[in-house]
Chain length 72, copies 2
């Protein structure tokens, strides 16, 4: 869990606009990509590595990865 | 499908760093929030409305919403 000033700003805007039943808004990045790999395990390892090493800033961001098989 | 210069930049960086098996990178926003609602249908309508009216810019962005029930 990290600080998220953008989430707080969006939450305040939503509440000001009448959505008073909204709580704990968090804003993050979403990255989607196609990866060719030998198998699901290789794909998972590579995606986790990209996320950790390049796509996220570990000081201020958490990340999670999900895979979806596309077939050949 | 909309133009995504940030996705192109991330793709080029990943390839330059050795991930040559990466294609079609797209970068977007991810917004997570807790909503109290009478039922799942009300929640879906409200979330779709927030996304359409406030959280996305329809000229340059697509969006999709998913719900997860938290219980009481």
């Amino acid at each position: 869990m990290v600080l998220d000033p953008q989430g707080v700003a969006v939450e305040n805007s939503l509440i000001a606009l009448g959505y008073k039943n909204v709580h704990k808004v968090r804003v993050g990045k979403y990255i989607e990509l196609i990866l060719t790999a030998e198998n699901r395990e290789d794909a998972a390892i590579q995606v986790e590595e990209m996320a950790r090493r390049l796509l996220s800033n570990p000081v201020i961001e958490d990340f999670s990865c999900t895979l979806q098989e596309a077939g050949v």
